[in-house]
């Protein structure tokens, strides 16, 4: 431990502060913007700021702000993990980082093939952003993934990549793909093309949101039950919802931690499968070979 310089330590501390500060800022923002006297309610993302624009006002919502803060936090976390790397790993954090990189590269290679191995950073970014966004609900914050706009944005991004790889053999080849297997099925193929991003967005959003709604409803019900059962207690003791201790925490293990991480994994997995499935690899290479032969 003695070989680390003072500067190294100072950067470490700075990065840790950078990691924690966004979360603290989000909690402060939530406390400041929540109207007083509000009990348990199920609301959408709060609108924090409205910027007037010519066609449609630009709304800065809680989900946007929270996802920016999560991005800053993840950025600081990985700067912290990768700062001071050596050729031979001798710290725990370098071993952890190497493990993450190996796992993601192995996952991408296994599911997408060698041609797509450059996708590992993209998949890891989606995985980390989605998982950390869902885990934000552990702090009582609004998880950005329970807003349809956020997941729809990711799904549209993946859809653009899918379409790009479908167009690799030229636009005519892409349009001909709609006429498979028979020509009159083209409208159905067209709909199923757009069903991919819609179902991806709805799946992630629906899972996270349903977890939030169910745990909120149970917390509200337990508060009501306490008022009935323990309402006879004198003074302020009667106002404390004692029965709310315990059960919501157990539910939160499933709804917040397990479900959030699983949905992140599934989103990444599906985008890998769709992207690698969209690429007509044999036709593309045959076309390249033909082009080369023509040039000679």
């Amino acid at each position: 431990m003695g070989n680390k310089s003072r500067l190294f330590r100072a950067v470490d501390v700075l990065l840790i502060v950078m990691m924690i500060l966004p979360i603290a800022a989000a909690i402060t923002l939530k406390v400041l913007t929540t109207p007083p006297g509000e009990g348990i309610t199920i609301t959408g993302a709060r609108i924090l700021l409205t910027i007037p624009m010519p066609v449609q006002d630009l709304l800065i919502t809680e989900s946007q702000v929270n996802s920016w803060l999560v991005m800053i936090s993840i950025f600081a976390l990985f700067l912290f993990m990768t700062h001071g790397l050596k050729v031979k790993a001798d710290t725990k954090r370098q071993l952890a980082v190497e493990w993450i990189v190996q796992k993601v590269e192995g996952l991408v290679r296994e599911n997408m093939g060698d041609y797509f191995h450059g996708f590992a950073p993209f998949i890891a970014a989606i995985l980390a952003l989605s998982a950390f966004s869902s885990l934000l609900s552990l702090f009582g914050l609004y998880p950005p993934t329970s807003d349809l706009n956020v997941t729809a944005g990711w799904a549209i991004l993946v859809f653009l990549i899918i379409t790009y790889y479908k167009c690799k053999c030229g636009p005519v080849y892409y349009l001909k793909g709609f006429l498979e297997p028979v020509a009159f099925l083209a409208p159905i193929n067209f709909i199923s093309e757009f069903a991919t991003p819609v179902s991806m967005a709805f799946r992630h959003y629906g899972n996270v949101l349903s977890g939030t709604v169910v745990s909120t409803l149970i917390a509200a019900a337990l508060a009501g039950l306490t008022r009935i059962v323990l309402g006879w207690l004198p003074g302020f003791l009667g106002d404390i919802p004692f029965l709310r201790l315990g059960l919501p925490a157990i539910l939160s293990i499933y709804f917040d931690i397990f479900s959030g991480c699983l949905q992140a994994f599934i989103f990444a997995m599906l985008s890998m499968m769709f992207i690698s499935g969209a690429f007509p690899m044999e036709d593309y290479f045959a076309r390249q070979a033909k082009k080369k032969a023509k040039q000679k």
């Binding site: 709805f202 699983l262 599934i266």
Partner: protein, 94 residues
């Protein structure tokens, strides 16, 4: 009269949300089947537990989609539709 109309709107939205969630039956049965088959597979070949489990979770998540569509409809009916319809009614009345 207006109260009655608004009451009908709210009640029908709640009923519709309840009806929409009948769709939860389908994914329930489907995921149950998937998990049952996965358990059988693990029983037959315990060494392939990891691969079977991850494939099963993946399949469960995809099978869940139809249920989630119903959930989205139900949530729209509870939180969004009443406001929209009441505003529409008030605008029609003038």
């Amino acid at each position: 009269m207006l109260e009655l109309a608004i009451g009908i709107i709210l009640g029908c939205c709640a009923l519709g949300a309840g009806c929409a969630m009948i769709a939860g039956i389908g994914p329930g049965i489907g995921e149950g089947n998937a998990v049952a088959k996965a358990c059988e597979a693990i029983g037959r070949q315990p060494e392939s537990k990891g691969a079977v489990t991850s494939t099963m979770l993946m399949g469960c998540a995809v099978a869940e989609t139809t249920g989630l569509y119903a959930l989205v409809i139900a949530i729209l009916l509870i939180f969004v539709a009443p406001n929209t319809f009441v505003n529409l009614l008030l605008r029609v009345i003038g």
